[in-house]
Symmetry: C2
Subunit: 220 residues, 2 copies
């Protein structure tokens, strides 16, 4: 019974996610679902993305998911973007319904790129579509190069794997080649970008990836 | 309906966990449920605990939970302890039934302390009792000092909060005082220990905590 109910929950969510996606496509909003463990640096990475302005020709929206607190949204509010904070209370992931509700507080007509910062969790968010065009997974060099093998669904579902905090590489035993091999073993179509939100390394490459993928979908 | 079913799943799990706990109490096995984000250093911390031998007068057992792979159990096999690896496949946490099954592969009569290394996830494992005497949460200084506020259930449920990788403190903007304030704001009864599995700092203090808590339960 448990399996049956969980399947129904996922199917129900997939239907809602598909409706969200139709709405995004209609309004030409390009949507990325950004996921990672707690503390991999999602918010700092988005802050640096806004600060460096490689996407300044696009109107940005951000939905921030957390179980509790508005700390992340407060950090991002300094920039000229539309922001909605979701507090899930208990659930360990965002789902289609939460994103549908959050979009009611956004002017989608005035957004070209919507970043969804999911709850910090390397497992469950990968199971719940929210209507995104692509999933993006972040992993910091502090977390260990074995993670793609240990949390395969997340890496399998993501179109882009971003290795964060590479400025801290000298202080870890993280093996960059090994983590890439591990990620490609799980998903051989994934793109991989090395990033430091501290030094700015990789931020332009990431912005170029976003522009190119948006162009794939909307032609501009 | 969804909420009702989830409540039934949790109640069913609580019953199984209570049965596990009775079995552990009967055999004088002291059980700690060790939880954290992926990459906070649970396995390395347990390796150092075994290597430093502050618990050498106790017979140790370890149950290692991962979604996939036996990498963690392989690291711990070098030490003279009983080990069982659980691969959950999909579930993002261990539960009472998984621990009950795993215990069939352990000689509990020959174990004084059982460490359960949960799946790397700062959310869901806190909701599922497994029959433990105490929950222990690890957080590395690489993850950010805001995490107790953002993932409150985990910190609320844990008797001990271990701050890991403190050797990396100089390379982060992690504020030790702030994280402690945040943790105590969520749970003012929690104990807190700073640890580096690299330098060995805090490992004796942790072993002393384990011995003292075991004595609270079994008198020796």
């Amino acid at each position: 019974m448990k399996v049956q109910v969980l399947r129904e929950i996922l199917e129900f969510n997939n239907d809602l996610a598909a409706k969200n996606r139709s709405g995004f496509d209609e309004k030409h909003v390009f949507v990325l679902n950004i996921m990672s463990s707690p503390g991999a640096g999602k918010t700092t990475f988005l802050e640096r993305t806004l600060k460096d302005e490689f996407l300044k020709d696009y109107r940005i929206g951000i939905i921030v998911g957390d179980i509790q607190t508005t700390l992340d949204a407060e950090k991002l509010e300094a920039y000229n973007v539309q922001i909605v904070q979701i507090n899930t209370g208990v659930p360990c992931h965002l789902d289609g319904k939460m994103i549908n509700n959050a979009c009611k507080d956004l002017e989608l007509d005035k957004i070209d790129i919507l970043f969804i910062e999911n709850v910090g969790n390397l497992v469950c968010p990968a199971e719940f579509r929210v209507g995104e065009h692509h999933k993006v997974v972040l992993l910091s060099v502090c977390e260990g190069d074995d993670k793609p093998l240990k949390y395969p669904l997340m890496f399998h579902e993501s179109s882009l794997f971003i290795i964060t905090k590479i400025d801290m590489l000298p202080y870890t035993d993280f093996d960059m080649e090994k983590v890439k091999q591990n990620a490609l073993q799980i998903n051989n179509r994934t793109d991989i970008i090395n990033v430091s939100a501290k030094t700015g390394e990789g931020i332009k490459e990431w912005a170029d990836w976003v522009k190119a993928r948006r162009k794939d979908v909307f032609g501009s």
